[in-house]
């Protein structure tokens, strides 16, 4: 009787710990080999055959096709430079420089990776359409209300994710060196 109780308890505990840990790691998107520059984090290995089991499980579960090394690298930001979460009711300024790349795009998603509805039907910018100042620097205002210049609307959603994709870039390919390039600063300017 005691043996039955004990083994039942053990299996229950094993299932709770095992499945709980799997659920936790997959929903948090835990992956190894990350590369963080300021508010931005990329997982270059996720786009290659060296993908780690956690990242592999997570993309299979979410139905994502990761950007391949040799194509480019994707940097994700879920918080600003001070670690505050990206809230669509606040205004954020993205400014500065980008690492060398033939093209880049920046896109705003909801937490599940979908685009966010907004009045001007804008979901991101490419390196070609951005308005720059005379030095070649730029500022993108990520805000719920219209802004002059480069305005990326948040649609007022509670949490958003920014993805900066560099195409045809040495970043992430030379993984051995992990040489850091400059990435745009993410500054919260205030909340409405």
């Amino acid at each position: 009787m005691r043996l039955l109780f004990g083994s039942f308890f053990t299996f229950l505990l094993a299932a709770a710990i095992g499945l709980g840990a799997t659920w936790f790691t997959l929903t948090r998107g835990i992956a190894f080999g990350s590369m963080t520059i300021g508010a931005w984090t990329a997982w270059p290995r996720t786009g290659s055959q060296d993908i780690d089991p956690y990242a592999h499980a997570s993309i299979a579960r979410d139905g994502e096709l990761p950007i391949g090394i040799g194509d480019g690298v994707a940097f994700f930001a879920r918080a600003d430079d001070k670690g505050r979460e990206l809230d669509g009711r606040c205004t954020f300024a993205l400014s500065g420089m980008t690492p060398p790349a033939r093209y880049w795009t920046v896109t705003l998603y909801n937490a599940r990776g979908g685009l966010v509805a907004n009045a001007i039907d804008r979901h991101g910018f490419t390196s070609q359409e951005i308005i720059r100042d005379v030095d070649g620097r730029f500022t993108i205002m990520v805000a719920p209300q219209a802004r002059p210049g480069n305005w990326l609307p948040t649609g007022g959603i509670e949490r958003f994710v920014l993805v900066w994709r560099l195409y045809d870039t040495p970043i992430g390919v030379a993984t051995a060196t992990m040489k850091e390039g400059p990435m745009p600063a993410v500054d919260r300017k205030g909340c409405s």
């Binding site: 308890f9 709770a16 710990i17 790691t25 993309i59 896109t107 070609q128």
Partner: protein
């Protein structure tokens, strides 16, 4: 008391095994992975354009809205695949994914170095049967080995501005993915 501690320790150990097993099994067990999502809208061994993501719907999460995309859901069981894709004015890339969404090879227009990206996709067994002189003489013939018999070839063309999206789509429309039956 000690007995219970042993039961708990056993539970934690077994839990670790359950955790690792479920993580490793997930890519095969997932029913909503990219390949499964594309099955209803893509015929086998032909290149079809994918609808771009909108705020209402998106086939996969985190798709780049600045790109036009086309996909060839391949099956190498009946022979190798010949892929030819003209490059667009801005930026074109081809990424090969296994059945389980692993990006095992990617190349862009500049790396391909020509007006069109041309590749042969084979299983390692089919590659081994390519006559050697053919492999050597056709230096411009790039052969890729697919780790799985089925998988996805995703072609992406950049529209540097939304108004250029029709051109990017047009560039992809000429892309071909043909099965070459074994003689």
């Amino acid at each position: 008391m000690i007995r219970w501690l042993l039961w708990i320790a056993g539970g934690i150990l077994l839990g670790g095994i359950v955790h690792l097993a479920t993580v490793l099994a997930m890519p095969r067990a997932a029913t909503q992975d990219a390949y499964s999502r594309l099955v209803p809208m893509t015929p086998v061994n032909s290149m079809v354009p994918l609808p771009g993501p909108t705020a209402k719907s998106s086939i996969m999460p985190f798709m780049d809205p600045a790109f036009a995309a086309a996909v060839c859901r391949y099956d190498l069981a009946s022979g190798s695949i010949k892929l030819s894709a003209p490059v667009s004015d801005a930026y074109t890339s081809v990424t090969f994914y296994t059945r389980n969404s692993v990006a095992y090879y990617a190349i862009n227009d500049r790396a391909a170095g020509k007006r069109a990206i041309e590749l042969d996709l084979m299983t390692p067994a089919q590659h081994a049967q390519v006559p050697e002189e053919q492999d050597v003489t056709a230096a411009d013939r790039l052969i890729i080995d697919s780790p799985t018999t089925t998988g996805l070839i995703v072609l992406r063309a950049l529209a540097p501005a939304p108004s250029l999206m029709p051109m990017a789509r047009q560039a992809l429309a000429a892309a071909q993915c043909r099965s070459e039956p074994v003689e």
